[in-house]
Symmetry: C2
C-alpha cells in the first residue's frame, strides 16, 4: 500500500467508523457467535502474497463485526464506560504517525513535555492538592499509565521498596526475606480485583477489610486492623482507598483513612478513583477528595469516563522519586545529556516503551473545554437518576444502595436465583448488556450509563427490556 | 465536534500525516528545544470553553513538531526501529472506533478470537515449534503484550509462582520467604536492562553471566554458574536467553542453553528476541531458533521490525496454564458462561484492560503478505551491510563485532573519549541520530537501520555525516 492508496483507504475507513458509531443503535449489543468462530472464517495461515485493501476492508463487516461487543452502544450498560470521542481518535491517528517511543526525554521531548503539562491541566481540573502537580515546583507530578491495575502495582512496588529500605536502615541485620513475609497491605473487600492481584504480583499479602453499611471503608476499621496486625508482628505499609468501587460505586472515607495512615506513620496511601475520578471535574463531587493531601499517590482513568480512548490512566505522585528510585536501571543506550531536567517516564512505569498519549488529553480538553466535559458527566449522572426513578416505581424491585455517579444497582425482591435468571434472560436476548455484582451475598444487577450516545429514550428502552423479562419470570 | 466536523477534521489529519511521513526527510531528526519548552508555549490550564478544531490543528506544527524526535526519519539510527505502516494505522483507527476492552472473551469475542488466530499465523511465519501454537490443540498459545519488558516480567512471575508451588509440595514446612531469598534467575551481561528490572520488580535476584568473544551466552557458562549456585544453597529457576542483544545484536546459544536447562530440570527458559525475532520470517535466519523446543516462553516485538505500530509485543507460552494459574483473580463482574472455551487474556498479562491490537497483525500480514514482510527485513539488512562496507574502507575506523541484522557497531580506532566526542558532535548537529553502547569497556557507536523509508542514499548520507565529524576530530 503506497501513500495514495492509504489516502483513499483511510478516508474510506474514517467514513466507515463514523457510520459505525453514529448508527451503532442498529446493532445487537452482545454478539451471538461461539468461541473460536473466527478460525472457521479465515485461512489457517498468513497469505504468501499481499492482498488488496478492498478485500481486507470487506472482512471487517464479515469477520469482525459479528463478534464485537459494542461498548459504545447506548444499550451497553456493563462494567464501567470506556471513553471514545472524535478528538481522541484524531489524537491517536497523529500519535500513530509520529510513532515515537517516549521512554526518555530525548527519545521524543514533545512526548514527555506535553505529558507533564497535561497532567497538570488535568490535576487542576479535578482539584488535586498542589503537591501532586509538577507546576508546584516540588517533587510531585503526574504520569499516564496504561491501566489502573498498573498504577496500583507501581504504587505497591514503590511502597514495598521504600519500606524495605527504611527497615534495613533501622536494623541492618534485618533479613529482606523476613521483611517480605511480614509486610501487609490493606484495602476494602469492595476494592477492585486488581488490588488483590497487585498483591499476588508483588508477592505481598493484602488484607481485605470490612466496609460499613454504605460499603465504605472507615478509619476505625483500618485502625483496629493495623493495630491488631502490628501486635502480631506484621508490618502495615500500604493502603489502597477506593473512590467509586466497581460493585456499587461506594466511596471509602478518605479523610478518616488518611488520618489513620498519618497516625501510624510510614504507610503509603494510594487512592484508586478509576471510574469516579472523572466526576471530580464537577465541584459538587469534589468533597470525596477531602483528605487526599494525606495520600502518596492518586489515580483515575480518563479513558473510562472522560471521553478519552483507552489507554490513558492518570496517576499522580506526591514524591515521584519514590517510584524512580525503586526501579531505576540506567543502561548507556538510554542515557542522555538532559537527565534530571525533565522526567524520564520509563522510571515511572512497568513497561519501557510508551506511546504519545498526552495528545489525547490535549485534544479532548481543548475541544470540549472544561464546561463541555462537566456537561458530559452531569448528563450521564442524570440518566442514571432517570433509571433509578423508573426502578423505584416498580414494587417488584428494590434498590439496595442509592445510585452513585452513573451506576444504578438494583434487583428483584427475593431470591438471588430469580435475579440470576433475570440477568441471564436479558443478556441472552442481547438487546441490552449488564453484568452483576454481589453485595453482602445479594446478587444485584448493575446498570452503568456508558455510551456518550445514551439518551433518555435509551434508559426507557433498557427499563422496558428489564421489565419485559421480569414479567416473564413473575407472570 | 460532531460527526460531520470529525469527517472533515479526520480527512485533513490523514492528509497531514501522509505529508508528514512522506516528507520526513526534510525535518531535522533530533530537536533542538530545551526541557519544559511546551510549558512556555501553551496556557497554564485547560480552557473553560471548547476551542475550534482549526485552532487545535495549527498547534500540531507550532507546538508539537519542534519537539519531536523523528523515529521514522531515514536519518534515525538510534536504539532499534519502531514499526509504522499504512495498514497498521488503518487498524488502529478501527480499533479506536470499536473501542472495546478485551479483558475477557465475552467483553468482545472478536478481540480474543482474532488474537488467538493471528498469534498462530505469526508463530507459523517465524517457524515456532507447534507446542507454542493454539492450533496444535495443546496447552500452548500466544498473546499480545504491550512490551517485551512486560513479557519478561510475566514469564519471571509465572516461573516464580511455579517454583514456590513445587518446593512447597516437596516440603510443606518450607517457608515462602526462605524460598524467595534463595531463588536465582540468570541472563547474560548483554541482556536488555528490562531483564534486570524484571528482577527488581519481582523481588528476585538476577545473576548476569559472562558471554563469549561473540557476546553470546554459552551453555557451559550457565551450567557452571548454576552448579556453583546450587552448591551454595541457591535455587536456580529462571533463565532469559537473548536472540539479538541491544548493544550488538548478539545471539545466545539457545541449543546449548536449552540442553542445560533440561539437565537441571524445573528451570523456566524464556527467550527474548524483541528485535531480531522479526527476521525469523526469513529461512536463512531461522537457525537461531534451534533449541526453542526446550523453552517455556518466547517473545518478539512485531512493533519493532515487522511494520506494526507500537504496541504489539508477541509472546507465546508452551503451557499457558502456568501463567493463568499464577495470577488468577476472578470477581463476579468479570465472570461469563463461556469460561474455559476461549482464553480470558486478562489472566495472561499484568494490566486488566487491553485494546484490539490483533487487527494490526491481521491488516499488516494480509496487506504485505509473507513475501512483502520478508522483502522488508532483507532490504534493511542489506542497507546495514552497505554501511558496514563503507566503514570497512576507512582505516580510521574499526568494526569490533560483525554487523548483525540491521545493526552495525563501529568506532574510531583508539580512545573511548574520541568516540564519545564523535557521537556528541553527530547528535548535536542533529542531521542523523545514533546512541552508543559499551562492549567490554569499549565505547562504540551503533547504527541501526530503522525507518522503512531508509534507502541506499540515506546510508551514504549517514556515513558522510560520520566522516565529516571524524575529519574535524582527526584533522
Amino acid at each position: 500500500m503506497n501513500a495514495q492508496q492509504f489516502r483513499s483507504a483511510a478516508h474510506e475507513m474514517i467514513d466507515f467508523i463514523i457510520d459505525y458509531l453514529e448508527n451503532i443503535r442498529s446493532r445487537r449489543v452482545l454478539p451471538t457467535i461461539q468461541p473460536g468462530y473466527i478460525r472457521e472464517m479465515i485461512p489457517e495461515a498468513a497469505p504468501e502474497r499481499g492482498e488488496s485493501w478492498q478485500v481486507i476492508f470487506q472482512d471487517i463487516e464479515r469477520v469482525i463485526m459479528p463478534g464485537v461487543t459494542h461498548w459504545h452502544s447506548p444499550q451497553f450498560h456493563a462494567y464501567f464506560p470506556t471513553g471514545n470521542s472524535w478528538p481522541a481518535i484524531l489524537a491517536d491517528i497523529l500519535s500513530d504517525a509520529i510513532g515515537c517511543i517516549g521512554f526518555s526525554w530525548i527519545a521524543s521531548p514533545a512526548c514527555t513535555d506535553l505529558e507533564v503539562v497535561m497532567m497538570d491541566w488535568l490535576g487542576q481540573l479535578i482539584g488535586l492538592p498542589s503537591q501532586f502537580l509538577a507546576c508546584s515546583g516540588g517533587t510531585g507530578g503526574g504520569v499516564i499509565q496504561g491501566t489502573a491495575s498498573e498504577a496500583t502495582l507501581v504504587a505497591l512496588l514503590a511502597a514495598k521498596s521504600k519500606a524495605i529500605k527504611r527497615l534495613k536502615l533501622m536494623d541492618p541485620n534485618f533479613e529482606e526475606s523476613q521483611i517480605f513475609s511480614n509486610l501487609l497491605a490493606y484495602s476494602s473487600d469492595q476494592s477492585h480485583s486488581s488490588v488483590e492481584r497487585a498483591g499476588i504480583l508483588a508477592g505481598v499479602r493484602v488484607r481485605l477489610l470490612e466496609t460499613d453499611e454504605c460499603f465504605s471503608l472507615r478509619g476505625e476499621t483500618l485502625k483496629l486492623a493495623m493495630e491488631e496486625d502490628r501486635a502480631k508482628g506484621f508490618i502495615p505499609f500500604f493502603v489502597t482507598a477506593t473512590l467509586g468501587t466497581t460493585p456499587s460505586c461506594a466511596f471509602d472515607d478518605l479523610s478518616e483513612i488518611g488520618t489513620v495512615c498519618q497516625q501510624f506513620q510510614n504507610i503509603w496511601l494510594h487512592v484508586d478513583a478509576a471510574y469516579a475520578g472523572s466526576a471530580f471535574i464537577c465541584d459538587e463531587y469534589r468533597h470525596y477528595l477531602n483528605g487526599l493531601e494525606m495520600a502518596d499517590s492518586f489515580n483515575f482513568n480518563p479513558h473510562k469516563w472522560l471521553l478519552i480512548n483507552f489507554d490513558c490512566s492518570a496517576m499522580w505522585l506526591k514524591n515521584a522519586n519514590d517510584v524512580v528510585d525503586a526501579f531505576n536501571v540506567d543502561p548507556l543506550y538510554l542515557k542522555h545529556d538532559r537527565q534530571g531536567q525533565a522526567p524520564d517516564y520509563r522510571h515511572w512505569q512497568i513497561p519501557l516503551g510508551r506511546r504519545f498519549r498526552s495528545l489525547k488529553l490535549w485534544f479532548v480538553m481543548r475541544s470540549y473545554g472544561a464546561e463541555g466535559l462537566r456537561a458530559h458527566i452531569r448528563q450521564q449522572i442524570q440518566l442514571a437518576n432517570e433509571f433509578q426513578q423508573l426502578v423505584a416505581k416498580d414494587d417488584r424491585f428494590e434498590i439496595p444502595v442509592p445510585p452513585a455517579m452513573g451506576l444504578v444497582c438494583f434487583r428483584m425482591k427475593g431470591e438471588n436465583s430469580q435475579n440470576e435468571a433475570l440477568l441471564k434472560r436479558i443478556n441472552d436476548s442481547g438487546r441490552i448488556h449488564m453484568v452483576p455484582a454481589k453485595l453482602r451475598g445479594q446478587f444485584i444487577l448493575r446498570l452503568a450509563v456508558c455510551s456518550r450516545y445514551t439518551e433518555s429514550h435509551d434508559i426507557v428502552y433498557a427499563w422496558q427490556e428489564v421489565t419485559s423479562h421480569a414479567d416473564h419470570l413473575t407472570g
